[in-house]
């Protein structure tokens, strides 16, 4: 269901305002293919009618209305002395109310093949009976909407991101723009957009706003992370902390944390707001655990999974759930998509850990080791009977280039990477199984493909 308002100013006391073209525009803009348009006048002296737009005929209608309910014919409504609480600007318009009784205040129109179903001579009018005035007609469109192509949806998110960054003060916008323009996989906004097309209330523009906000939120957390991890580069460019100092990085992160939460709140769906807020809290709590665990580096699998579920998977899960919630999907569908997102997010992070050992990734090999970032391949290598003792010994000492290089060699020579790959693939298949029991309106192949491609990468 899509809502709209048609607003217009009338110029005459009685006037037939042809709304047909504007309604056709609304239908095209919403992508309604088959369904209904509901119209409702929001005034007691504005009626609706479907008839022929022929000027002399409209004159006949006007004459008819004037004959049936002439102006100033002694209407009780115009006897202000007998009425209570009469506003100062109340006009004598009993005739207009009586004329409205002959029309209708609400109307339903059919839509087929993306256009109004109208006879050759039919037009839709708002009938002004007490003008000139500013008027509003409420419109709701319901039925089957064309789903925008994935390319169009993704372009919408990029436009929304660009638009949001355009209006922000330059000291915060410029660093964020550099980060956003440097790329990134945009997986979280893609998940929002895909899942927002599942329920009965698919609204591409609101979905794009939510997707852009989630991406900004993710980037805000990255800016603070890079300061915490002392990272010098992200997406091939200097981090905000490295380029402009930690003070600026903290301010930029805070600004976009607040901006994104505001954008999400303004979407006006409390369940969506809560889903994202809960995820963000989980991200922040897990960041603390992540740093704390570096004292027992490389840690163990259970601690790793606990951190990854909070730090990465929670926002994937919230992206999926919030899109579905926005579209009005059932609680069962929302829950299944949330689980899909959590499993996918965990698998995604595991593969991200593997990228640290890939020379073709475009990132310096061994960066995670150097920064003592929690990493599953390293945990498995440290547990390995053959290479484990040397890995643990190296990790316990100072990590210079030589040590990092040797740890990388040991990890790649063990079966740690194969174990992580196998585990990530198993999680993705589990995520795919979550989709089997729910109705996804044709989106299952896309979600399955996205999950598999998220782990089938080396960058």
């Amino acid at each position: 269901m899509i809502r709209a308002r048609l607003r217009f100013d009338t110029k005459h006391a009685t006037e037939f305002v042809d709304l047909t073209d504007r309604l056709r525009q609304e239908i095209r803009r919403a992508g309604l293919r088959t369904g209904r348009v509901y119209l409702q006048s929001l005034h007691t002296t504005l009626g609706l009618a479907v008839n022929e737009n022929e000027p002399l005929l409209l004159r006949d209608f006007q004459d008819l209305l004037e004959r049936i309910a002439p102006q100033g014919a002694g209407y009780h409504h115009d006897d202000f002395a007998r009425r209570v609480a009469v506003p100062l600007d109340e006009p004598e318009n009993g005739h207009a109310h009586c004329r409205q009784l002959l029309l209708t205040s609400a109307s339903t129109l059919l839509v087929e093949d993306g256009d109004l179903v109208l006879g050759r001579w039919q037009s839709i009018f708002a009938v002004e009976l007490d003008g000139p005035r500013h008027r509003e007609v409420a419109v709701q469109l319901d039925g089957d909407f064309v789903r925008p192509s994935r390319e169009a949806s993704e372009a919408l998110v990029e436009l929304e991101l660009g638009r949001q960054l355009l209006v922000d003060p330059e000291p915060v916008a410029a660093p964020m723009r550099r980060l956003v323009e440097a790329g990134g996989k945009r997986l979280r906004p893609k998940l929002v957009q895909l899942t927002s097309a599942i329920g009965p209330r698919s609204e591409p523009l609101r979905a794009a706003a939510l997707a852009a906000a989630v991406e900004l939120l993710h980037n805000a957390t990255l800016i603070h992370d890079d300061y915490v991890d002392e990272s010098t580069h992200r997406r091939g460019r200097p981090t905000v902390a490295a380029a402009e100092g930690p003070e600026r990085a903290i301010a930029v992160g805070d600004y976009y944390f607040a901006k994104a939460t505001r954008m999400i709140a303004e979407i006006g769906n409390r369940d969506v707001t809560s889903a994202i807020a809960e995820a963000l809290e989980a991200v922040c709590a897990s960041q603390i655990d992540d740093v704390a665990l570096r004292g027992a580096y490389p840690g163990d699998r259970d601690s790793y999974l606990r951190v990854v579920r909070g730090k990465t998977a929670s926002l994937f899960a919230a992206a999926c759930a919030s899109g579905a919630l926005l579209s009005g999907a059932t609680p069962e569908v929302v829950a299944a998509l949330r689980r899909y997102g959590e499993l996918l997010g965990t698998a995604f992070q595991m593969v991200d850990d593997m990228v640290d050992f890939s020379p073709s990734s475009g990132k310096p090999v061994g960066l995670d080791i150097r920064q003592r970032v929690l990493s599953l391949p390293l945990i498995y290598a440290a547990e390995d009977r053959e290479v484990g003792p040397e890995v643990r010994e190296l990790l316990a000492g100072t990590l210079g280039d030589r040590e990092v290089g040797r740890v990388t060699e040991l990890v790649t020579s063990s079966d740690a990477l194969a174990r992580v790959r196998s585990e990530a693939n198993a999680l993705v298949e589990e995520a795919v199984r979550e989709l089997e029991a729910i109705e996804l309106d044709g989106l299952r192949p896309v979600l399955v493909g996205l999950a598999r491609s998220a782990v089938d990468r080396n960058a």
Binding site: I250, Y255, A277, L280
Partner: protein
């Protein structure tokens, strides 16, 4: 600790209660009288967490060390979640605007407005 503050809302942040959070909480209690009784302690705590979080981060001053920044981030996130669950859209937006005003001033290296005044104004929205 006042009984009306749910314990779970202070998990991981217990140490802050005696380090300014309780004072900030008490100060904001005076600003939440117009809200539902159930929401009042949660909104006062949300404002207090955001104030303390911003202080811990060192926003507008010297950057906090990484581990302290993360605690500040958690304060902001928890405050934001409390607002999402308990505040009207207008109040949520007003809080976000307050944080945007402080962070954009900090990024521009101009004087950062008083956190408490901005958040009190947000609660009055």
């Amino acid at each position: 600790m006042p009984v009306e503050v749910p314990e779970r809302e202070l998990v991981r942040l217990e140490g802050l209660w005696s380090d300014g959070l309780s004072d900030a909480y008490r100060a904001y209690q005076e600003d939440v009288g117009r809200f539902d009784a159930d929401a009042q302690p949660k909104l006062a705590l949300a404002a207090a967490l955001i104030e303390i979080g911003i202080r811990l981060q060192g926003l507008g001053g010297r950057a906090a060390p990484p581990t302290v920044l993360l605690v500040g981030d958690l304060c902001l996130a928890r405050g934001s979640r409390l607002l999402a669950d308990n505040a009207s859209l207008e109040v949520q937006v007003a809080f976000a605007e307050a944080i945007q005003a402080m962070s954009s001033a900090a990024a521009a290296e101009s004087s950062v407005p008083s956190t408490r005044q901005l958040l009190q104004r947000a609660l009055a929205r």
